[in-house]
């Protein structure tokens, strides 16, 4: 069977299955469980309507439970066992991990990532959103800046490998150095700062995301509040920082935390750029390193990452909700 036919059949079965589920389950609810008959007429309609939302969310709850909650709990227990999974070693994986230099480097680098990437991407996104707002060619500029969003992390890493390449005929950084008569350097091997060259790739990708969301938020600010500020004598900087930014603050927080969560999941960029060498490891790539060897430490790393992500995510959801109101 050709993949196209397979795809079409899958879509038909999937969509049809969903439709059938909703139709059948509602039918059963209305006709069999709470039939609007006899004395219980009104009461049964009300009861059916209380149950109905659950029919709609039930599949989602089931699959989220299966693919999210169960793995989380499962991983936690696994992280308490040794590699072969038969000996309970308590927090052994954790103590082992924290005592290791590699983990501490990864944790430190990850903190750098969590601070630098969301801050830069949000700041640049906001800057671009504001600067392109009234330009005729603003939309073209925005499209260009948004484009990296469409590239996979590995693809983007490959592009930047060329940009950072050691050979002055390939890498632009070394081409510039060459022009000034300096020797080529491999920026990915400069201790500490190499992290920032790698982080910049993610900033490059995420600026587009921040820009699109913040641009919409800026457009949503009532024009009259800005005019009132003009009449009140505010200059463009004051208008931006005292009138506009506070009004889109909830959106900024949502963008910031969304990127933070993403940062805590990225491993492919580091993997493709340095493979974690030259002290550029971050937690997800560190986890990947241990996934298929050594002890049962990978699940412990995963757990540490989750514990770091959770508060950010909670804050993100709270802010997003507040903004919706």
């Amino acid at each position: 069977m050709s993949p196209v036919v397979q795809g079409i059949i899958t879509i038909i079965l999937g969509v049809g299955g969903c439709a059938a589920y909703f139709y059948a389950s509602n039918l059963v609810l209305d006709k069999v469980i709470f039939p609007p008959r006899n004395d219980d007429h009104g009461r049964n309609i009300n009861r059916a309507n209380i149950v109905r939302p659950w029919l709609f969310v039930a599949p989602a709850i089931f699959f989220l439970g299966l693919y999210l909650v169960y793995p989380v709990v499962g991983s936690f227990f696994r992280s308490l066992y040794n590699r072969s999974g038969n000996t309970f070693i308590g927090l052994g994986n954790y103590t082992q991990m924290f005592s290791e230099e590699g983990f501490r480097v990864a944790l430190f680098n990850n903190i750098l990532w969590v601070i630098f990437v969301p801050a830069s991407a949000t700041f640049l996104g906001l800057l671009v959103a504001q600067l392109t707002d009234r330009l005729k060619w603003g939309n073209i500029a925005k499209s260009l800046i948004f484009m990296p969003m469409a590239i996979s992390f590995v693809g983007a890493s490959l592009i930047w490998k060329f940009v950072y390449a050691n050979n002055p005929d390939i890498g632009i950084i070394n081409a510039v150095r060459d022009f000034f008569g300096l020797n080529p350097i491999d920026v990915l091997q400069i201790p500490f700062w190499n992290n920032f060259f790698i982080m910049f790739i993610l900033v490059w990708i995420q600026t587009g995301f921040a820009m699109v969301i913040l641009s919409a938020a800026l457009r949503g600010i009532p024009e009259e509040t800005i005019e009132a500020a003009i009449i009140d004598g505010a200059n463009p900087f004051q208008i931006f920082f005292k009138i506009k930014i506070p009004q889109i603050a909830p959106t900024i927080v949502v963008v910031w935390t969304t990127i933070t969560i993403l940062v805590l999941k990225v491993f492919d960029i580091v993997y493709a750029m340095t493979g974690g060498n030259f002290d550029t490891e971050i937690l997800p790539s560190y986890m990947m390193d241990y996934m298929f060897r050594d002890d049962g430490r990978a699940t412990a790393v995963a757990f540490v990452i989750m514990i770091i992500v959770t508060p950010v995510m909670v804050w993100n959801i709270v802010q997003a909700r507040r903004e919706m109101r």
Binding site: P222, E224, T225, E227, A228, I231, D232, G233, Q247
Partner: protein, 361 residues
């Protein structure tokens, strides 16, 4: 404090769409000028040009004898109250009111004094630490006004400030604005509205805008008693003035018009002998109509009556266009379906030819 002078002001959008032209206006210090006109006639545009939010594409604007076409809004000595209030949503009432003063780097003490004075004047003291979203419509409106007052501007600009309020609050706030004006006799105010009751009650002078320009400028009573055109005549006063076609048959100090509908109208508007035979529209306000047994200007069958207590409105059967309306003092019952003759005092009968009043030829 300030007088405002507009000379040949015009506004064109994008080089082609002309919205306003030939605006000439001299506004004296302490006046409360009201711009009225139908929706979309350019009232807001004119106000925004005075504020400096909209570029003046032709003519000059002077404030206190100084041309300010290119002076930024904050330095024109104006303050504006927007239709939507435009309060800064993230600032408390106090911060909203102090924002301009902080920008102007006034001292802490000075800011606090001004804000407290304005808050007291507008009864906003209990709300100073609230955010705008925790205020009612009327309170927000007062904050918007307070924000202008603290700046102590030469000219206040209001763009339909009451249109977002409900009817009862609108009347109350209108009175408050009138009192505010009285307490600041030196301030010049320009007030935009499409509501002619607001215009009549607040204005020292009304500017009627229509057709991209000024239709007439004058005190409320001037506009009411001696409108220069059918447009102004029908715009000011509610219900609108009745216009009835006829032909001049006698000229002189008193003009006599033979109505197309059969009656005869007399008007104290003087005409010249050569006006004899001129086709005119006779204008009579509903409230000037009185019932008559003899001579009449209009005769018609009463279609609907509305008894409002102090007056009764009579809507006559319309043959074409708007119905003729009469407003009689007191209660008149049982007129519905009857043929009624109406006449009016010659001093209150207006004559228009080609849309313009014969008074203003």
């Amino acid at each position: 404090m300030a007088n405002l002078k507009l000379t040949d002001v015009e506004k064109t959008y994008g080089g082609t769409v002309q919205v306003l032209r030939d605006i000439n206006l001299d506004i004296k210090k302490g006046e409360l000028i009201v711009f009225v006109g139908p929706s979309g006639c350019g009232k807001s545009t004119l106000l925004r040009m005075i504020a400096g939010l909209e570029k003046i594409t032709g003519g000059t604007l002077e404030i206190d004898g100084q041309m300010v076409n290119d002076v930024p809004p904050a330095q024109r000595g104006i303050a504006m109250v927007f239709q939507s209030y435009a309060l800064y949503p993230h600032m408390t009432v106090r911060d909203n009111m102090s924002f301009a003063l902080k920008i102007a780097k006034k001292s802490k003490q000075e800011i606090e004094d001004s804000v407290n004075r304005a808050a007291k004047m507008l009864q906003l003291e209990p709300y100073l630490d609230r955010l705008p979203k925790a205020l009612s419509g009327g309170q927000r409106q007062r904050v918007a006004i307070g924000r202008s007052i603290v700046r102590d501007p030469k000219v206040y600009l209001f763009d339909e400030p009451l249109s977002n309020l409900d009817a009862a609050l609108r009347v109350a706030t209108r009175i408050e604005i009138a009192q505010l004006k009285e307490s600041m006799p030196d301030s010049t105010m320009i007030y935009v509205t499409h509501d002619q009751v607001e215009a009549m009650t607040l204005a020292t002078r009304i500017v009627v805008l229509a057709n991209k320009g000024i239709a007439q400028v004058g005190s409320p009573l001037e506009l009411y008693e001696t409108p220069n055109s059918e447009f102004v005549a029908q715009f000011i006063g509610s219900p609108a003035m009745n216009l009835l076609p006829g032909e001049i048959v006698e000229t002189g100090e008193t003009t006599v018009v033979k109505m197309d509908g059969g009656g005869t109208a007399r008007s104290n508007i003087a005409t010249k002998p050569e006006d004899k035979g001129l086709k005119v529209n006779v204008g009579v306000r509903p409230e000037d109509f009185v019932e008559s047994d003899g001579d009449y200007i209009y005769e018609g069958t009463v279609d609907i009556t509305e008894a409002l207590g102090e007056v009764t409105l009579l809507y006559f059967e319309a043959h074409d266009g708007d119905p003729v309306i009469g407003k009689l003092q007191g209660i008149h019952q049982g007129l519905r379906g009857n043929k009624v003759k109406m006449t009016a005092d010659p001093g209150r009968v207006h004559l228009f030819h080609d849309g313009t009043s014969l008074l203003y030829r």
